[in-house]
Symmetry: C3
Subunit: 311 residues, 3 copies
C-alpha cells in the first residue's frame, strides 16, 4: 500500500479486516520498527472524530503526530497549475505538499467537498498525492471517506449474523447541504465486502453511478427497511442537481416504528448526527444503536492504515 | 477519586496536598503504570496557564496529551435533552462526550460561565460527566476553578507562617464582567484548609451563599487588609444582579499603601491580571508577589490530579 | 549560547555549521541528557514551515513540544511598561513571559513586523527575552529570521563550488507589503559566512544600513545576475518609506532568461512563494531550484539550535 485515498488502494480487503481485528485486540502491540516516525494531520475543515481518533491511533503506535490547520495556522493554498499568484493564495500546493512530505513520514488530509462542480475532480487530494513524497491518507475528501467506511465494516463484521447481511443505507433529512463522501465510500466498501446493500432515498438523490455500483435503489424507505440487518442513516445533497437540497421531508427521519420493520437491525451513523432530524432519540439511544462503537472503530481503521503505510 | 469537578471530589485534602508536594519535588518520578494513557484537553474558551500547565503536567507524567478546541477545531455542541437539532448545533453532547470518553483515558474541560441565568446549573460539565465514560477534570467551569484553588493552596502552604493564616480574598475593579468561578473555589478550598478567610468587596458583590460559606464578609477593603497574611485579588461580576458590573471604583485597586496595612502579606492573583487596574505595578512587581509561583503550581495541581485519576 | 535572537548570539558560525551537518546526517542521534525537556512554540502569526519544521526538530530530539497560538488559543498581550490595562489587552508580557518561561525549558516565538514605525525596536522579542527565565529562540521577528538564514547557509554550503561564491539577494515583486526580516538576516549571515553578496533591488528598497552592511547594492537586476552562483529571490517593502510598496514592476520577476546570465546559479527562496509573480514556474520547477531542500534544512537549523540551548 503506497497511499490510502480510496478502496482501490486496498488489494486485500479481507486481510485488511483481519489486521484491524488484531489492532483492536492489542492496540499497543508493535511489530516492525516505526520508531522515530512522524505523522502530519492536515485539516482544511473542522473535525472531531477524525481529528481525535487519528491522534489516538498515532499515540497507540507510539509515533509522533503533528496537527496543521491549514486555514488558521497557515494560509490559503493555490491548487491550479500555472496560476499567476497575485491574489489571496500565498502558497502553491506544489511547494506545500513537497515540503510537508519532506518533513513527515505520512500525511493525512481532510478536505471536504465545497459542493462546487469540480468536487469530483478531487483537486486537493490528487494534487497532494502528486506532489507529496510521503504516503497520503484520505481523512475525508470531496467524494470519499474511506477511513469511515473501513471503520463501518469493522463494526458490521463484529455484529453480523449471516455472511451476507442486508445493509440499508438510508438518506435522512438535514438542515444543511452535505457532501456525498460518506455515502459514496459506504456504498463501495459494503459492496466490496459482499454485503447485500440497498440504498434508500427520495428521487433525485441517486449517488453517482461509479459509487452506487450494483446496489439496489429504493425510493420507499419503509420497504427498504424490511428484513434489514443494519440501518445506516446519512444525509447527502443531490448529485444530479449537484449540491442542492431537494427534500427536507421529516418523514424520512429514522424512527422507532420504522426500525420495527427490520430484522432487529442495528442502527448506524457516522456522526455528528442531528438528533430528532436524522434519527429520533429513541432509536439512537436504544441498545441497538452502534454509533459510539462505530466511532471507536475509527481509531482501529486509522491505526491499521497508519501501521501499514509506516511499516 | 472518580472525577475532579469540585472540592467535593476530594475526601482527603491533607493527603492531596502531601501528594502535590511530592509531585513538585520530583516531577518526573513515576510510580504505577500509566504508560500508554492518553489525556484529552477540551477548550470551549481561551486559556494560557491552564492550557500550557496541563500539557506540561501530562508531559511530566509521560502520558499523551491531545488538545481539542471545540469551537474552532470542531463545531458547536447541543446540551439540551430532546432538542430537535435543525439549527446551528451540529452534534449533541451525548455523542461527543461518549465518543471522546471512549478515545481517551481522561477528559479535562474548560467551559466558562456565559454570565447567563443558567450558569449555576453547570450544564456543560454536568452533561459531560453524565455521558463520558472516562474521568472528567474541571479546567474551569461556570462556577468553579478547582485546579486554580488547589494550586493556590499549594502556594499558601509553602509560605504560611502560622497554622491558620489570615487570608483576604479581595474584589478589585475590571473593565469587563467576569465569572465568579475563581472566587467561589478559592473560598471553598481555603475554608476547607482551615484558613481564616475574609472576603472583601463592595456591596452587591456577595458570592452565592453555598460558596461564601462561613467566610467573614467585609465591605471596607482597608479594614479587611489589617493583619492579613495573604491578599488574593480578583474581580468578579455580581451574583445577585447576575453578571452585572455594579462598581468600577478604582479605589478598590490593590496598591502599596494598602499592602502596608497587612502583616507583610504576600500578594496573590490567578492571572491574567490587568496591571494598574486590579493591582498596581509596585505591588505585583514587589518581592512579596507570588503570582508567578502560583502559576507554576498549576502544573503541580494538574499533575497531581491527572496522576490520581489515571493510576 | 543563552538565546537565539540574531547572528550576534552565534560566536562560532563555522562550528555551528559543523553541528548542523552532524544533525542532518544523524537526526535521531542524541548525546547529552535532554530527556524530560519541553519546548513551547508561541505563534503570534501564521506559519507553515516554521511551525512544522520546529515540531519535527523537537520530535527528532525526543523532547516534548507544545504549540501556543497566542491570539486564538489565548488573548492579546500588553507590551508597554506602566500601561493601565483597562482596554483590549488581557495580560502583560511580564506575566506571560515569566509564566511560560517557568513552564518550559525553551520558548520559541514568531512575531512578524506589523509594518509600523516601532518594528525595529523589536518590542515582542525583546520583552520576552527580558522577562522569560528560559532561553528564547527567534522564529521570525520584526527585523530578523535567523533560523531561515541558518538553513540557507546549510543549503549553500552543500552546493557551493568555490570558497567565496557569488550570492545575489534579489528583490522581486509581490502583491502585498512584506517585512524585511528574511532579507535582513540573509544579508548578515551570508556576509558572516564570507560569501560575496550582492543585493539587487529597485531604488528605494535599500535595507537598513546595519543589515546591508558591506554588501554590494545593484539597481540593475540583470547586471547583478552576471556570474552569480546563487540567486535568492525575496520581496520586501521599503525600509526608508517604511512598509510602503514603491514598485510592482513585473520585470523584476526571476525568469529563465535572467537565470541564463548566471554561472548556472542555483535558485533559492524561503517560501511561501508567489509563482509567476516572484519567480516563473520554469525557474522554480527547474533542476537548479533548491527551495524544497532549503525548507528541509529548516528542520536542521531548528534542531541544531534547540539542541544547543537545551544541552
Amino acid at each position: 500500500m503506497k497511499q490510502f485515498f480510496s478502496i482501490d488502494d486496498v488489494s486485500d480487503l479481507k486481510q485488511l479486516l483481519e489486521e484491524a481485528k488484531v489492532v483492536k485486540e492489542n492496540p499497543f502491540e508493535l511489530k516492525g520498527n516505526i520508531r522515530n516516525k512522524s505523522i502530519c494531520l492536515l485539516f482544511l475543515n473542522p473535525s472531531l472524530r477524525t481529528r481525535l481518533s487519528s491522534q489516538r491511533a498515532a499515540q497507540n503506535l507510539r509515533v509522533n503526530v503533528t496537527i496543521f490547520d491549514v486555514g488558521s495556522g497557515g494560509w490559503q493554498l493555490e491548487f491550479t497549475d500555472g496560476a499567476i499568484m497575485n491574489s489571496d493564495k500565498a502558497e502553491h500546493v506544489k511547494e506545500a505538499a513537497a515540503v510537508i512530505g519532506t518533513y513527515f513520514d505520512l500525511i493525512a488530509i481532510r478536505a471536504f467537498a465545497k459542493l462546487e462542480d469540480k468536487d469530483y475532480q478531487e483537486q486537493v487530494l490528487s494534487q497532494f498525492m502528486k506532489h507529496c513524497p510521503a504516503p497520503v491518507v484520505n481523512l475525508e475528501s470531496s467524494t470519499r471517506h474511506p477511513l469511515q467506511a473501513f471503520a463501518d465494516l469493522v463494526t458490521i463484521e463484529a455484529y453480523k449474523k449471516t455472511k451476507k447481511p442486508k445493509v440499508v443505507l438510508t438518506w435522512a433529512p438535514h438542515p444543511r447541504a452535505l457532501p456525498q463522501a460518506v455515502a459514496n465510500s459506504f456504498s463501495l466498501w459494503t459492496q466490496a465486502a459482499g454485503y447485500d446493500l440497498t440504498i434508500a432515498h427520495p428521487e433525485g438523490y441517486e449517488l453517482a453511478p461509479e459509487f452506487s455500483g450494483n446496489a439496489k435503489v429504493e425510493y420507499d424507505q419503509r420497504k427498504a427497511f424490511e428484513e434489514a440487518d443494519f440501518i445506516y442513516a446519512k444525509n447527502w445533497s443531490s448529485y444530479s442537481n449537484y449540491g442542492e437540497i431537494l427534500c427536507k421531508d421529516s418523514n424520512w427521519m429514522v424512527s422507532e416504528d420504522k426500525m420495527k420493520l427490520t430484522n432487529n437491525a442495528k442502527f448506524m451513523h457516522c456522526l455528528p448526527v442531528r438528533r430528532n432530524v436524522v434519527v429520533s432519540d429513541a432509536v439512537i439511544d436504544s441498545k441497538d444503536s452502534l454509533v459510539v462503537e462505530q466511532a471507536e472503530n475509527r481509531i482501529v481503521s486509522a491505526q491499521t492504515i497508519f501501521k501499514r503505510l509506516l511499516s
